[in-house]
């Protein structure tokens, strides 16, 4: 009798585990859809193009990008990387998104935005032993000046499409979000010209590994950007993603892969926001 009872309990537990697995899988898929929706709005700009993509290493990811249209007509953009991976990182990514949108309402520059986000997120990130790196930039479509600040995030790549070369604008550096509550960030700016392209990215691109554990590295990325700099940002995005897939030869990615590309076509631009159907 005891053996039968034990078997019954085992069967019930096993069936219960199975339904929990199914429910978890469903919920993760829903979470993935939510995240994909949140990463899907791009400004449509006459005279310039902007596109982005984020490919999580796991089902959902901790990389983040966003755009915000400011009252003065400028576009504020942000790209970031939350410490860790998977569901925990995705939860903090949503927290970061809320902080960015809220800070953008009340601040007038990228450095101020990062400082406000640092203040808002510090306690949560410290208690969770986590941090976020962010690069924030304001682009003025009339003057084509890009003003930017970094909270522990790598600088984007600046491509001069006319001369087919990478240029080094002033470097902005700063501490990651989550280290201090009252952090001040330095701000730099650069004047963009026709055929300039700015490639914002997270380290998952250059650190993608192949079977021999070699990394994709900046050189390969730069070569692709220079080779295809005359094409649309959508095409360039696809070339980069395809090149990483070819290089990694099916090795599962260790980190999320995220990029935002801004390309200037003419000196003066007008803007509206769209939601991509991708």
């Amino acid at each position: 009798m005891y053996v039968n009872e034990y078997r019954r309990i085992c069967e019930l537990t096993s069936s219960n585990d199975h339904s929990i697995d199914e429910r978890l899988e469903r919920e993760i898929k829903l979470a993935r859809n939510i995240q994909a929706k949140l990463l899907n709005g791009f400004p449509r700009i006459n005279g310039a193009e902007i596109q982005g993509i984020s490919i999580p290493a796991r089902l959902i990811g901790g990389d983040y990008y966003d755009f915000y249209r400011l009252e003065n007509g400028n576009i504020r953009m942000v790209i970031g990387d939350v410490m860790g991976k998977g569901i925990p990182a995705a939860m903090l990514m949503i927290l970061t998104r809320g902080a960015f949108r809220s800070a953008s309402e009340s601040t007038t520059s990228p450095a101020e935005t990062l400082a406000a986000m640092s203040k808002a997120l510090y306690q949560d990130l410290r208690s969770l032993k986590s941090f976020v790196t962010l690069f924030c930039a304001d682009w003025n479509p009339i003057t084509n000046v890009l003003t930017y600040a970094s909270a522990g995030h790598n600088m984007p790549l600046f491509v001069n499409g006319k001369e087919k070369k990478i240029v080094d604008p002033p470097k902005a550096s700063g501490v990651m979000i989550g280290a201090f509550s009252n952090q001040v960030y330095e701000e730099k700016s650069v004047k963009l010209e026709e055929n300039n392209m700015i490639f914002f990215y997270t380290d998952g691109i250059v650190e993608a590994e192949n079977k021999n554990r070699e990394q994709f590295k900046h050189e390969r990325l730069i070569n692709i950007l220079l080779e295809h700099s005359h094409k649309s940002v959508d095409a360039i995005k696809k070339y980069v993603v395809e090149a990483i897939h070819r290089f990694t030869e099916g090795v599962p990615p260790k980190d999320d892969i995220t990029m935002v590309i801004l390309k200037i076509h003419q000196e003066s631009n007008t803007i509206s926001f769209i939601h991509s159907k991708e």
Partner: protein, 106 residues
């Protein structure tokens, strides 16, 4: 297979942790175990001479060691960091955090 080994040398009131391999999301808990057991020391030296790769979770572990040094009042020194990893730590601002917490960077 876990790809991190940590060798600990304890002498007087100094601990040296020799970190070898990959400090990432899959191995960070091994490093964290050594950090969490630190008590009553004056100095922690983390030797990264044999560190091959670090990701954001690994950087988070170094941050934890830095905050612990503040809480438990010991000096922390990072050594043997190669140029690519130094560049990553510099970009995220880790040395600035260390400087602010301890007032010195080694």
């Amino acid at each position: 297979m876990l790809e991190l080994t940590v060798q600990k040398e304890h002498s007087d009131r100094t601990i040296v942790l020799n970190v070898k391999g990959i400090l990432d999301i899959s191995t960070a808990h091994l490093f964290e175990a050594y950090i969490q057991e630190i008590e009553n020391i004056e100095e922690l030296i983390i030797d990264f001479s044999n560190l091959e790769f670090i990701d954001s979770t690994g950087i988070g572990m170094i941050m934890e060691a830095i905050y612990l040094s503040q809480e438990k009042q010991f000096i922390i020194k990072l050594k043997g960091i190669d140029e690519p990893i130094h560049s990553i730590l510099e970009t995220v601002g880790l040395f600035k955090v260390l400087e602010a917490v301890q007032g010195e960077v080694v």
